[in-house]
């Protein structure tokens, strides 16, 4: 135990020293170019006033001495925070630890807040507020709404349903909150029944109907294509047999469903290996962030 603590302490100190060294060389800093923005009031009735502010554009480190480029404290802090977060999540691979717990707590808080903010601006503000009260929305968040837009009263329905849902919080009659849920579960069932049967049942059958034997235009048999088609059709059929619930896997069915499960295993083995590539690319991406963007190796 002591030995491992010592090893870890040495590693930490070495890592910290390396970080300081890299930082002293000017790595891990972000530079921005300030771009002035000038905007004039758009409404005919408002005062003809010019508004000015600046916008920052991140530039590579090689341009840090260019005119108009300055050191950005907030983005530099951000870069270090991002690097800290990355390392803290990776530390979970070693085992649960206070660093991970701290990051996890932040992650849950920030992501829950993020999801709510996005839902507020993209759903409640855009799809409810702006639809029901376009006039008010125009002078607050969405000036580009046409001034002749009329309220769409149909959107009162989801509003009422939402209020019914929130009735749950009241001490009495909270069962009424099941009504909107029942409405949407019913809608889900109806819509998915149609869409799955159409695209996945009929659609997949349609693309599987093909001849066992394929001939070239001069009448000779194309061995490879015929073999491919036959394997394909037999594969699909045997898997379907495997999924049958009514018949026990006995007799001939046993062998066919066995073939079916083999085809499924080939499918799974291949998909597993195929996905590996993308996942490793993601890890490379994170390491590139640490090595290049942060440490500047």
């Amino acid at each position: 135990m002591k030995q491992s603590t010592l090893i870890w302490t040495i590693l930490m100190v070495a890592g910290g020293g390396f970080l300081l060294f890299q930082a002293s060389k000017g790595n891990g800093r972000v530079y921005v170019r300030e771009i002035p923005v000038e905007a004039t009031a758009s409404q005919p009735d408002s005062e003809p006033q010019v508004y000015q502010w600046t916008k920052n554009q991140q530039v590579p480190q090689s341009e840090k001495d260019d005119p108009g480029v300055s050191f950005s404290l907030s983005r530099t802090v951000g870069l270090w925070v991002a690097a800290f977060c990355t390392l803290a999540i990776f530390s979970f691979l070693y085992g649960d630890n206070p660093l991970y717990k701290f990051t996890e707590a932040i992650f849950v808080g920030v992501s829950a807040g993020y999801a709510m903010v996005v839902a507020f601006w993209t759903e409640i503000a855009t799809n409810l507020f702006a639809k029901l009260l376009p006039g008010l929305a125009r002078i607050t968040f969405y000036p580009d709404i046409d001034s002749t837009t009329r309220p769409e009263l149909l959107y009162l329905i989801p509003l009422v349903l939402s209020i019914l849902l929130l009735w749950r919080l009241s001490p009495k009659g909270s069962w009424i909150a099941r009504w909107p849920l029942a409405f949407f579960i019913g809608a889900t069932a109806g819509i998915r029944l149609i869409s799955y049967l159409e695209t996945d049942f009929i659609g997949q059958l349609q693309s599987t109907v093909m001849p066992f034997l394929v001939f070239a235009s001069d009448g000779s048999l194309l061995w490879d294509k015929s073999l491919k088609n036959t394997v394909f059709i037999v594969g699909v059929l045997s898997c379907m047999v495997y999924f049958f619930f009514s018949i026990e896997h006995e007799g001939i069915i046993k062998y066919v469903s066995r073939l079916g499960i083999w085809v499924l295993m080939v499918t799974f083995g291949a998909s597993f290996a195929y996905t590996v590539m993308g996942r490793i690319a993601l890890l490379s991406g994170r390491l590139v962030f640490l090595f290049n963007d942060w440490l500047g190796i």
């Binding site: 977060c85 920030v110 109806g190 294509k225």
Partner: protein, 242 residues
């Protein structure tokens, strides 16, 4: 009563929407219902967020182990919510500068953008990248030739793993580009790992996926019907109020 009315509501909604799929004039009703659902889900954040608060506050007030982390979660949550809803540091839309609130909530250089760019994104991306590690431990542990099925799984996985990198050229790149039997259309080089992995993907994997999808479609149909007919009504809770 408490279960009958909702059951009635879901059955009518479901069957009406099945019917509208065949009536061109009403075919959009389903999309409308799903758009409304997103609004309902947005309002439901009050329930979820409320629950999150309650759980964390309970931990803090009872001084349960790790209550400090609960406090961190609460602070992070409120800070994010505040800067996002109030659009801290967001400049107005360039077209309409006189409307102070017209800027995009995720505008570059805003406080919410900073949280997104430097906390949310690296955390998500790193969590996602952990998969590379878990894939390696799963490969070590799970791909063992316990029976025929598992053996097939692992052989295929190895072929594809090799076929997707330069290793395929090292190992089987020497296979000649010649026909095996006269002009049978099959070449030796068709058996190099890269082609082999493509053949597997094209034939077996697509076939397996197709059968799975056909089965899923039927499963969805029967689950939907069970819900609509009230055969399975577990999602509605009970008749009694506890």
């Amino acid at each position: 009563m408490k279960r009958t009315v909702p059951l009635f509501i879901s059955a009518i909604t479901g069957f009406v929407l099945i019917g509208t799929a065949f009536i061109p004039k009403f075919v959009d009703w389903g999309n409308d219902a799903m758009a409304w659902f997103n609004l309902l889900a947005a309002f439901a954040f009050i329930l979820g967020g409320g629950n999150l608060l309650k759980m964390q506050l309970q931990k803090i007030s009872a001084q349960q182990p790790g209550w400090g982390y609960a406090a961190v979660t609460l602070i992070a949550f409120f800070v994010t919510l505040f800067v996002g809803l109030v659009k801290v540091g967001v400049h107005p839309n360039v077209k309409f500068p006189e409307f102070a609130w017209s800027g995009d909530y995720l505008q570059e250089d805003g406080a919410f953008w900073w949280l997104f760019e430097y906390i949310f994104t690296p955390l998500s991306a790193t969590m996602f990248a952990l998969l590379a590690f878990y894939i390696s431990s799963a490969a070590f542990r799970a791909f063992r030739a316990k029976n025929t099925e598992a053996t097939i799984l692992l052989i295929i996985a190895v072929i594809i793993l090799l076929g997707r990198t330069y290793a395929s050229v090292w190992l089987t790149g020497w296979l000649p580009d010649e026909f095996i039997l006269g002009d049978s259309g099959i070449k030796y080089s068709d058996f190099n790992l890269q082609n082999l992995s493509e053949v597997i993907m094209e034939n077996f994997t697509t076939a397996g996926m197709r059968a799975i999808k056909i089965g899923i479609a039927l499963g969805v149909a029967s689950t939907s019907l069970k819900v609509l007919l009230g055969v399975d009504r577990s999602y509605l809770g009970s008749d009694q109020e506890v």
